[in-house]
């Protein structure tokens, strides 16, 4: 009885350790991608894996979260950030190979509302954002202290002169996709996200586009994480800059900045 129990335990230990060892041995690329870009990267990865046998794992989260994890030694090979500030932080921390940093994508900032609402509001100087939130509604945005979409949003609202009126009416989310979810669920009457996020969600509609002049251009930078690079990761890095990838990015609504 005791012996069989020990044998079962040993078998479980072997199985579990074997699983992780096996994963490490096969060709896997771990990509840390800004939450807004993760779905497109996944769509690009699938045919790439089918063609090359290199499996790609995409971890999508707020750029800030990913950058902090990479600085602390996360085993990602590639990182795609939604705000140059964070890529510069990675560069300053010597985590990435700065010579191979490129700007890959561009995006736009939009005001979103739940699908069933009737709000019409065009982001412009002094627009009636606070009134549109109603008595106690909150504006869902990426947390402006660190999430790129929130940083852009704060900048845009400041330029348009309405930040002070809504600064205590925010529902800050840990990443931009979470902010979209708040709006899609109807918990927030309005939110700010990228155009690509709004297009991916069934529950929200675009109320208006923020003027490009109201905030820094939304730029996604791609770079290899120096300590973790492998030939397989290099292959996927190149693939992300290929025409095939460009087609997918454009289908998702991104502007592709770098070409092969």
């Amino acid at each position: 009885m005791m012996r069989s129990l020990c044998q079962s335990l040993a078998a479980i230990v072997v199985a579990l350790s074997g699983a992780t060892a096996g994963a490490a041995q096969s060709e896997t690329v771990l990509v840390f991608a800004a939450a807004s870009a993760a779905p497109a990267i996944r769509a690009i990865a699938d045919p790439f894996t089918a063609r090359t046998g290199i499996s790609v794992t995409v971890s999508g989260a707020a750029t800030s979260t990913l950058a902090q994890q990479i600085v602390r030694g996360a085993p990602a090979q590639l990182v795609l950030t939604a705000h140059p500030r964070w890529m510069t932080h990675l560069s300053d921390s010597r985590a990435i190979d700065a010579t191979r940093r490129t700007t890959l994508l561009g995006n736009e900032l939009v005001l979103i509302a739940p699908l069933d609402g009737a709000t019409t509001l065009e982001p412009s100087f002094g627009f009636a954002l606070e009134a549109a939130l109603g008595r106690d509604g909150r504006l869902a945005i990426g947390d402006p202290t660190h999430v790129p979409a929130g940083i852009y949003a704060r900048q845009a609202l400041t330029t348009l002169g309405v930040w002070a009126s809504v600064a205590d009416r925010l529902a800050p989310a840990g990443n931009v996709v979470a902010a979209v979810t708040f709006v899609a669920r109807g918990e927030s009457p309005l939110g700010i996200a990228y155009r690509t996020d709004a297009a991916l969600s069934d529950g929200v509609r675009v109320v208006g586009l923020f003027p490009a002049s109201s905030h820094d251009p939304v730029r996604y930078d791609l770079a290899p994480v120096s300590a973790n690079m492998t030939p397989a990761a290099d292959a996927f890095l190149n693939h992300l800059r290929s025409d095939a990838a460009r087609t997918v990015f454009e289908r998702y609504g991104f502007r592709v900045m770098a070409a092969s």
């Binding site: 800030s64 902090q68 106690d136 947390d143 202290t145 205590d168 529902a171 109807g186 918990e187």
Partner: protein
């Protein structure tokens, strides 16, 4: 010594935990009494459901609260339309999340305490003419007080540390739902915050330690009183 922001975070955390325990404790005592002293069909199932927050991932509790008590939620929309009460994105929602997560801890502690009471004391009171309510108020509850107290302290500490259900349900709003753990989490996302994080960590430890010491002192006094020895 403490910055205004730190005081805001601490006050909010204490307020959220205080209300979570204050509202949760009477309900937990009731549930504990039912489980300890009565039998009814489906008791095992009720027991299991009450303990769910202890075993399911907190993010699931938070999501369930969002679906049920959000502005558009099944219960939340009724509460809002009928009473104007809303749990969405405010500290009451944070207290609700903390209370739900801490509820099983309170029930367990109180229940164990009630089960340890010699039932003959309660029976004797009944034979002397006391009704169930009076027996509960004058015999059961006073004798279960150490369990009530330790359950309350445990729940208070759990509420101070509540993270997953809170951030899922009511987001991370400064001054409204950004309690100590959420504030620490937020700072971990911002480079160069190590000193600020360290301060909040020390504050958290100090509060938790103070709560534990207070409960130890109180339970000794109560224990001594129940045994009839002078304090």
């Amino acid at each position: 010594m403490l910055s205004p922001l730190e005081i805001e975070i601490i006050t909010l955390s204490l307020r959220v935990s205080f209300w979570a325990v204050l509202i949760g404790l009477p309900l937990a005592i009731g549930a504990a009494w039912l489980l300890a002293r009565t039998t009814f069909p489906g008791k095992v199932l009720v027991d299991g459901i009450l303990h769910l927050p202890l075993v399911v991932p907190p993010v699931i509790v938070g999501y369930a609260l969002l679906v049920l008590f959000g502005r558009q939620g099944a219960i939340g929309s009724i509460l809002y339309d009928a009473f104007g009460v809303s749990f969405a994105f405010n500290w009451k929602g944070a207290a609700l999340a903390s209370g739900v997560m801490a509820f099983p801890l309170m029930v367990r502690a109180v229940r164990l305490s009630i089960e340890a009471i010699d039932q003959r004391l309660e029976t004797a009171a009944r034979t002397l003419g006391a009704n169930r309510v009076r027996v509960f108020a004058t015999i059961t509850l006073p004798l279960a007080l150490p369990g009530v107290l330790s359950g309350a302290v445990l729940a208070f500490a759990r509420s101070l540390g509540e993270f997953g259900a809170t951030i899922t349900f009511v987001s991370n709003i400064p001054g409204e739902t950004r309690t100590l753990p959420l504030a620490i989490f937020n700072l971990t996302q911002v480079p160069g915050s190590e000193a600020a994080i360290g301060r909040l960590v020390l504050i958290s430890i100090a509060i938790a330690l103070a709560a534990l010491i207070l409960s130890e002192v109180l339970s000794r006094r109560i224990g001594a009183r129940i045994r009839g020895t002078p304090t």
